[in-house]
Amino acid sequence: MSTSSGHAHGSAEHKAAFNDLTDVEDIRDPEAVPEVVRSTYDDADIFRDEKEFNDHTLRPMFYTTKAYFIFVIALSLIMAQGVATFAVQTYYGLGQTNMHEPLFWGSYIATFVFWVGMSHSGTIVSSLLRLSHANWRRPILRAAEAMTAFSLLVAGLFPLIHVGRLWRVYYMFPLPNQRTLWPQFKSPLMWDMMAISVYMVGSMTFLYVGLIPDLAIARDRAIANNNWRQHYLKFLALGWRGSNREWMVYNKASLFLAVIILLIAPSVHTIVSWDFAMTMTPGWHTTIFGPYFVVGAIYSGVAGVVTLMIVLRWLFKLDDVIRILHIDALGKLLVVIAIIWTYFYVNEYIVTWYSHKPEEAHMWAWQGERFPHLLWIMLGGSVLNIFLLSWSRVRRNVYMMFWMSLLVNAGMYSERYLIVVPVLTRRDNPFMWTDYLPSGTELSIIAASFAYFIFLYAIFIKLFPIVTMADVKEGVVISGDMKIGRHSVRVQARE
């Protein structure tokens, strides 16, 4: 409600509409406008003061229970066995897995694709929402962005776990060398590596830039309490003071980053899909794979965000920050994405089925025959989502949402498995048809990857603010009630 016409920008219509609602000159005069209700959360009386809000949201960071340590140690144990298994695999060779000719890619790549997909929740959703000024985005941004960064970190491990000669992986990097040999940029794997590195840089930057103001808040807390976190917080907060200049630059850069990330993120998963689609393997070689993967990724990512939000909300009693409103909004988003995803999926099948391409038809038939349970989880979950989540009582039920979001991710994991495995077990050459189930080594490394993700998150929660405090505060600042006739209407200032 406070903006000066000289510096406000945005669409012309919007400005006009806003000007109609607010008398700009009057805003400067405290007497002319009734006291601005500075909280969006009028109905919640837990914190009217920012100090209280800060205390509340930083509590998970500064106060740690015993259960947390036990939890982290448990995760570490799972990770440790994963690392040990991986060491054994590296020492003896990839024979520890169940892969064999001609199934050269197995559960590692499926998991890789899953984690890359997971990473699409965060930044893509957050930048989309940021650009579209969706106000309900504010508290969930950090959780989503952190999820992006961490699932990318986990995903990035899988190519390393997967390759045969880990110690020669540097051949893939364009390093000047005496052999005068460069990587082969024609390979979709190179694109993949580039895209994932770029996405990693982008999302890490995005996460970090978003963190800076919150780091300043946490820094002040830490200094006040003489907490050990002050050392890195001081460093990472870059001496942020929240000055007008800083905010301006920060907002601007966030906008750039949101746009750039929005350009990177779909390209990343498209390129991951090209790892498959650019081959000539029947079942992989389809034009729809790019968008299909992107939508699938967002689907699993959003569901991942829902799961995480609910877990955080439950663990850290953030009910007032992460409210039913947010979960409901994410539920709506899930419905939309589920519909698009189902459409793509069905489309792919229908085309193959109707044109009767024998080599692919074999493969699909085999898929249904061999992995019916996975197929049911994937398709059933998706369809169930469309119907159940259209119902607001379900969307507003936290338990239901929790299980639905887990179901989505189980389905999406199945989907990745069904993309990678059945296709390779039913290749062009019928003599070399085969079958595959992951080995213990693979399962334990995959389990460790999930533990690693949760571990990273658990550590992150203890080191950094988990709620996007500055954004929430901004939302509070720029919203207020305006009287229109007899009604008091909630309005948002926009830039």
Binding site: W167, N177, Q178, R179, T180, W228, H231
Partner: protein, 179 residues
């Protein structure tokens, strides 16, 4: 150092161990990848103190007088004991080293030499082609006629081979050297 001091002694030990592993790993990797550059020279002790300087340098015996296989096969080959005795049956036959060779020759017992120039096993090199093209041995093996004890003067990294191949428009197809 508040942070460090605030840690318990166990945590310090763990952190120290982690740091040590981290540093150790890097040292290992550095040696692993760059070791050949640092510790490259390889000068083994030979069973008979043969001097290339004396034979090839002072007495100007052509390399291929002894290493006859170089122009015929992939390997340059070490001369047979018979080859040594061709001359040393008469020349300096009483020298203790020669006597040793002569004894072995009579017993039909080969002299086991230590390999100095060693290519990685996945490289296939053909001496014949290079000799026929007219390259001097010294081009790769260094000024061998000037040293008494031969050491490895060249690491035969791929860059060495490929640079020369490119300069001479020799094939640079990988399978020229690798299978």
């Amino acid at each position: 150092m508040n942070f460090w001091n605030s840690l318990s002694s166990t945590a310090k030990m763990v952190a120290g161990a982690l740091a040590a592993i981290f540093v150790g790993l890097h040292i290992f990797l550095a040696i692993f990848y760059f070791g050949p550059f640092w510790f490259g020279t390889h000068t083994p002790t030979q069973p008979i103190a043969f001097s290339h300087k004396l034979h090839a340098g002072t007495n100007k015996i052509p390399c291929q007088y002894c290493h006859t296989l170089a122009r015929r096969t992939e390997a340059a080959g070490i001369p047979s004991a018979e080859k040594c005795m061709n001359c040393h049956g008469y020349v300096k036959a009483e020298s203790p080293l020669i006597v040793e060779i002569a004894k072995k020759f009579e017993n039909k017992e080969p002299i086991v030499w230590q390999k100095v120039f060693d290519l990685p096993d996945h490289v296939w090199f053909n001496h014949k082609r290079h000799i026929k093209k007219g390259f001097k041995c010294q081009r790769c093996h260094g000024p061998i006629e000037k040293v008494d004890v031969v050491g490895r003067s060249n690491d035969f990294k791929m860059g060495f081979c490929i640079g020369c191949h490119r300069d001479n428009e020799a094939p640079t197809d990988c399978w020229t050297c690798h299978t």
